[in-house]
């Protein structure tokens, strides 16, 4: 499982355009997302990387319109197939949630209802979307799904309660719950960060296999660059509510174009050189209370120029499938023949 080849099709499944999400807190408006745009092709895995608090999860939750007050989706469009999720009525959104787009959360054990047998919880995923289904056949289907997940003694396990299961087993149940409805898009919000390293690889391999089987696209949120390299076709790197770099996984990881991505990659410990001190990007994540009026990374960036603290950098297209929002590429992108697209302020 090394870097994957380019995706099979380029048919857009999900397209997020200029998404802005604000949280109205006591200390002011937190500008959590400031014009996030990306798209996801069918049967493709897009990785969303970035440090804690950069807006990865908010992006994921926005796609399902699960932003609760004090949060609010201020503007933008989220086009799923041909529908704009932000303008649909509640019933239509509910049909999409879990039916067409499923989301796996970080903490598998907290994500299961402690007082319901896990088999029944998987069955409920089916019952929510198919009212004609009766309980016993939903249960049977749920057990089949568990068998497919490589869970031994599926019948007996399905009668267990979440506290009787290990973290890895609970995450398998969660994945079963989310994939049993055969969604078109699976959002995985750090699916392995709460698990042991030994289990992580197993869970990822299993997810990968199932995703192939039911031809689902995946939006994989992670701060683990190793996981990203193994599972994703394309990646988007987020920083403080913006996507700063996006492109094919091989291209972004081998040849990062944004200083933040470069710093992020340098933080990965070097196995060949264990005595080398760990690298850290200097400075802190900026407060999101001020609306964005310049490059948010400029305070920490070693290449920062005067205009970086005055203007918002547009998105520069390096190659067909690699773009970065950084003024360093202002001249280069033109000389290298790449086209310049301003996605931040369309």
């Amino acid at each position: 499982m090394l870097l994957k080849d380019t995706p099979v099709t380029t048919d857009k499944l999900l397209s997020v355009q200029d998404l802005r999400v604000h949280f109205h807190t006591l200390r002011g408006i937190v500008h959590a997302l400031e014009g996030v745009s990306f798209h996801l092709n069918r049967q493709e895995t897009l990785g969303l990387a970035g440090e804690t608090g950069c807006g990865k999860s908010v992006t994921a939750r926005s796609v399902l319109r699960l932003i609760d007050p004090p949060g609010r989706i201020v503007s933008g469009r989220i086009i799923f197939e041909d529908r704009d999720i932000l303008t649909l009525d509640d019933t239509a959104v509910r049909a999409i949630r879990g039916g067409e787009i499923s989301m796996i959360m970080q903490e598998p054990k907290m994500s299961l209802n402690p007082v319901i047998r896990v088999g029944d919880q998987v069955a409920e995923a089916l019952l929510i979307h198919d009212t004609s289904l009766n309980r016993s056949s939903a249960r049977t289907q749920a057990e089949e799904m568990l068998t497919q997940m490589g869970i031994p003694e599926a019948h007996r396990t399905s009668r267990r309660y979440p506290h009787e299961l290990s973290g890895g087993m609970a995450q398998r149940i969660m994945i079963a719950m989310m994939l049993v409805t055969r969604p078109k898009l699976l959002i995985a919000d750090e699916p392995t960060s709460a698990l042991d390293v030994t289990i992580q690889a197993q869970i990822l391999a299993l997810m990968d296999k199932l995703v192939q089987d039911i031809r689902t696209s995946v939006l994989m949120i992670t701060h683990d660059l190793g996981v990203m390299a193994e599972t994703c076709d394309r990646v988007a790197v987020m920083y403080a509510g913006n996507i700063v770099e996006m492109g094919a996984v091989r291209s972004v990881l081998k040849d990062p174009q944004h200083p933040y991505t470069q710093g992020l990659l340098k933080t990965v410990p070097d196995k060949a050189n264990p005595d080398h001190p760990l690298y850290a990007i200097k400075g802190n994540v900026p407060s999101l209370l001020q609306p964005q009026n310049h490059c948010r990374f400029s305070d920490r960036c070693e290449y920062a120029m005067a205009r970086c603290s005055r203007e918002i950098p547009p998105v520069y297209q390096m190659t067909d499938d690699h773009e970065a929002a950084c003024f360093l590429h202002d001249g280069q992108s033109i000389s290298s023949g790449g086209k310049q697209v301003d996605l931040m302020n369309p």
Binding site: M103, M105, P114, V115, A125, I128, H155, R156, M174
Partner: protein
């Protein structure tokens, strides 16, 4: 493959059965250990048996008036003596168990679901819904329960049915408060978010995932409230707003005897003791139920 699944299923059933046995055994041990609860449960079981077999236990017809035998002291003929109309007090107390139990059960059946629904709605939706429902319940909680029950019973007119409605109306806010508090604690759990992200409707989340979590505290609260409900019913009976003569209701009987309290103490006192014992039984049992349903107790 087929036999394997069958074996798997049989094993699963076996395990389930054993787990259930273990649960009941633990519950029994906890029950035995709590002596007061044993007393309480015994009282309530006796009350149930007495209510069920009232016609068999009663030595006389509770409504038969024999004026020549009025105000007789307790004897072997009349265990608890007779009242001012010559009715056998023992038989009336035994039949009164039925009336008391009926009132208590019906009040519980009306007020808990109402309180539960209102509390879960308020807690789940929050905001304006919460404000309206909780301020409404505040209005009810602002008055002592008995006063409120008296007011409603007086407005509705005397009678057992109206007394039941009046007590239920006075009682629901405490269940609503409790259900709301539980809902608030459960609502923000990850698994509620997950089930929402799976497209579950608000109704499904409330019925399937939140209400079950509220039930155990509501049951404990209800079992502790049973005593108060019975007292309120007796109070209404005493004031003439509850059961009407000649119904053998304990509160009404206490009231009937109050003119003769000095010389014929048994007329009021013995039905009064019945109320005392039953209320105590419910309270002791309620305390015990709380301990048994508490998972922390099971650990030790």
């Amino acid at each position: 493959m087929n036999t394997e699944t069958q074996i798997d299923k049989r094993l699963a059933r076996n395990q389930r059965w054993k787990a259930r046995q273990r649960y009941f055994k633990d519950s029994y041990t906890l029950w035995r250990r709590n002596h007061l609860m044993v007393v309480g449960t015994t009282i309530i079981i006796l009350l149930l048996l007495i209510a069920l077999s009232a016609p068999l236990l009663a030595t006389h017809n509770p409504l038969d008036q024999i004026l020549s035998d009025r105000l007789l002291p307790p004897t072997w003929e009349h265990f608890f003596g007779t009242d001012s109309l010559g009715r056998d007090i023992f038989s009336r107390v035994v039949h009164g168990a039925r009336v008391t139990l009926t009132i208590a059960l019906l009040v519980a059946l009306i007020s808990t679901p109402v309180g539960l629904i209102i509390g879960v709605l308020a807690g789940y939706f929050g905001g304006a819904v919460d404000e309206i429902l909780m301020r409404l319940s505040d209005v009810f909680l602002a008055f002592p329960k008995l006063i409120l029950a008296i007011a409603f019973a007086a407005a509705l007119g005397p009678g057992v049915e109206n007394a039941i409605i009046a007590i239920a109306v006075a009682n629901w806010p405490s269940y609503a408060r409790l259900a709301r508090a539980e809902t608030l604690a459960v609502r923000d759990n990850d698994y509620i978010q997950v089930i929402r992200s799976m497209g579950a409707s608000n109704l499904r989340i409330m019925v399937g995932h939140i209400t079950p979590m509220c039930l155990s505290s509501i049951i404990v609260r209800l079992s502790l409230d049973m005593g108060t409900i019975i007292l309120t019913a007796a109070g209404l009976g005493f004031l003439g707003l509850g059961a009407q003569p000649p119904t053998p209701e304990w509160g009404l009987m206490v009231s009937d005897g109050r003119l003769y309290l000095v010389d014929q103490w048994w007329v009021s006192t013995l039905p009064g003791f019945a109320i005392l014992i039953v209320v105590m039984g419910f309270n002791l049992m309620g305390d015990g139920i709380r301990d048994i349903l508490d998972p922390h107790q099971r650990q030790s």
